[in-house]
């Protein structure tokens, strides 16, 4: 008479399976409940950086004054070059206004496309070689040129996003360029900037 083999000799695949399930559960909950985190595989690694820049740009609209003719109609923020900052700016534009004026985000692939009346023009780091033509194009207009490349203020950028030694996002203000422009800034803005 044959004896039935009890399952005691098997290498306990279920025990491991339970452990795996436990770990999966931990990750699944993390992924499914934290949509802002990069771990979900959908968000952009630069998302937090774009958010920081978008909040800074919104603050520029609060602490910088444009000349009279620029204080009517939509408030135009142009984005030139390869960046996804415009998506974050769109979210901001949907929720905020500038003194009751609608914020409009424009994405440009060339400086020639830029609106004549552009309040802020952001130049993406990857397109920094266009800085000269941007400065040429905006030199007689009160357009706030914002960049994100080390040393860009030396070439005429008014505001340049940088980071300090700890990695904290900050911005440089080109004070002489501000003097030449028709833009006026609040001292509160200068107090948190790196003045150049």
């Amino acid at each position: 008479m044959q004896t039935l083999n009890r399952t005691v000799y098997r290498p306990d695949p279920r025990k491991n399976q339970v452990m795996i399930r436990l770990l999966q559960m931990i990750l699944v909950i993390l992924l499914s409940t934290l949509p802002k985190t990069v771990v979900c595989g959908q968000s952009n690694p630069a998302e937090a950086t774009y958010k920081v820049q978008s909040i800074f740009i919104y603050n520029f609209t609060k602490y910088i004054q444009w000349p009279g003719e620029y204080n009517t109609g939509d408030f135009i923020i142009g984005v030139l070059g390869e960046t996804k900052l415009d998506s974050e700016l769109e979210k901001m534009a949907a929720a905020k206004t500038v003194n009751g004026r609608k914020i409009v985000i424009r994405k440009y692939t060339a400086i020639t496309e830029a609106d004549k009346k552009c309040h802020i023009l952001f130049l993406a780091a990857e397109s920094s070689d266009l800085l000269n033509s941007v400065i040429q194009k905006t030199k007689d207009t009160p357009t706030l040129v914002v960049t994100e490349r080390d040393g860009a203020t030396k070439f005429g950028s008014l505001i340049n996003f940088v980071s300090d030694k700890t990695g904290k996002p900050r911005f440089e203000m080109n004070l002489s360029a501000f003097e030449k422009s028709r833009l006026k800034y609040d001292s509160k803005l200068k107090s948190v900037a790196i003045a150049i």
């Binding site: 695949p13 920081v52 800074f56 996002p169």
Partner: protein, 388 residues
């Protein structure tokens, strides 16, 4: 070999194909069997089984079933022997009107169907779940009619497990419920079945099953975790927290328990925004504890990095647009500090698990925020490589 055939054929010739002669063949087959001359026994019984005079005699069918069982036993890879044995024994039962052969066929059938069970276990161990299920099925069918004992309960449980692995939830549920009816004594049964009910949205049954399991196996870790998971699933967060704290009191140094605690606190923070900060601190403390015990634990490093990362990102919520520039500047100090705090954990998690895409993405995001763009790009390239 030749002599063996000769004897069989001489028997046929001398007996002149008579009924008596065929009966002698059955007797001869039994004699060969007793001497363990299985090939001769098979020849003799196959001849008897083909002859009209003896083919419908239950004795012929029984002896044939037995001989083929022995052949299968000698060489279990030849499954046709088992099939022939089962067919013969089934025929014997049909012909045996007064049940005289039943006591003799039962142990042979037990052996043959038992072999299905053993095969099932072997397939289960090899993780060939389809074959495991196919093997348990005939055993279950037979044992249900003959001996509904603990082997049957275990077969139901194993079949349920195989069906679950094959993602056939309704089939798995059926088998598991049968195992439960037979009082199969294994906490995993309660654990799995409760999760099946949970998946199927049968909350009441899920609760009942987990509670029954907990009562029967109060110290089983998996059932404790399942109970907490169930409370989370049912959005009964205070209960989940209470169960978790009770569990942590009993087993305060168990890393698995602490990992679960981290997850529970995460869920609690999500649900109760007023206490979000409290739960964030609790979660952080839990991972710190794990990392003190096991600094190389990849999951703890990863979870700690993600906890901090998410905290930093949370601090960049919509209301930040309303902050005054100076307050925003201070706010960025705190955010940067948290990203810097997350960095070594993300680096460690990637070091421990270089192909963990989620850990790589977390690290890439942290590097990017801290303006370490070259390092961020390198991680991006590694992620692209993994994609390919």
């Amino acid at each position: 070999m030749f002599i063996r055939y000769l004897i069989v054929w001489l028997l046929i010739v001398f007996t002149g194909y008579s009924t008596f002669g065929q009966a002698i063949l059955v007797t001869k087959a039994s004699e060969y069997l007793k001497k363990n001359e299985l090939a001769s026994a098979r020849e003799a019984i196959d001849l008897a089984a083909k002859n009209e005079a003896t083919q419908n005699d239950p004795q012929t069918c029984y002896v044939r079933g037995f001989i083929y069982k022995e052949l299968f036993k000698a060489n279990p890879t030849v499954l046709t022997h088992r099939e022939t044995a089962l067919t013969s024994l089934q025929k014997c039962d049909e012909l045996d009107k007064n049940g005289a052969y039943k006591p003799k066929t039962a142990p042979v059938l037990d052996y043959l169907y038992g072999s299905f069970y053993n095969e099932g276990v072997e397939y289960l161990n090899k993780k060939d779940f389809a074959k495991a299920l196919a093997s348990f099925k005939p055993f279950i069918e037979y044992r249900t009619k003959t001996k509904p004992d603990d082997y049957l309960a275990e077969a139901y449980f194993n079949a349920g497990y195989a069906a679950l692995a094959l993602k056939d939830t309704p089939l798995s549920r059926g088998y598991y419920e049968k195992a439960l009816q037979l009082n199969y004594n294994n906490p995993l049964l309660y654990d799995d079945l409760a999760q099946i009910y949970q998946q199927l949205g049968e909350k009441k049954l899920a609760i009942q099953t987990v509670e029954a399991g907990r009562q029967k196996f109060p110290n089983d870790a998996n059932l404790r975790i399942s109970q907490i998971n169930l409370s989370l699933y049912l959005k009964d967060y205070p209960k989940a927290e209470k169960q978790l704290e009770e569990y942590m009191r009993i087993d305060p140094t168990n890393i698995d328990v602490m990992m679960v605690a981290g997850t529970v606190y995460e869920s609690l923070a999500r649900e109760d925004s007023a206490k979000r900060k409290v739960y964030f601190e609790k979660r952080k403390m839990i991972y710190q504890k794990i990392l003190q015990k096991s600094p190389e634990d990849p999951s703890a490093n990863y979870n700690m990095a993600v906890t901090l990362y998410n905290k930093a990102v949370d601090l960049l919520g919509v209301d930040v647009y309303s902050l005054e520039i100076q307050d925003y500047n201070k706010h960025l100090d705190e955010i940067t500090k948290i990203f810097n705090e997350a960095l070594p954990f993300a680096e460690k998690a990637v070091q421990m698990e270089p192909k963990n895409r989620n850990a790589l993405k977390a690290l890439q995001g942290i590097y990017h925020f801290l303006n370490r763009r070259d390092e961020s790009r390198k991680i991006g390239a590694r992620l692209d490589q993994l994609k390919g």
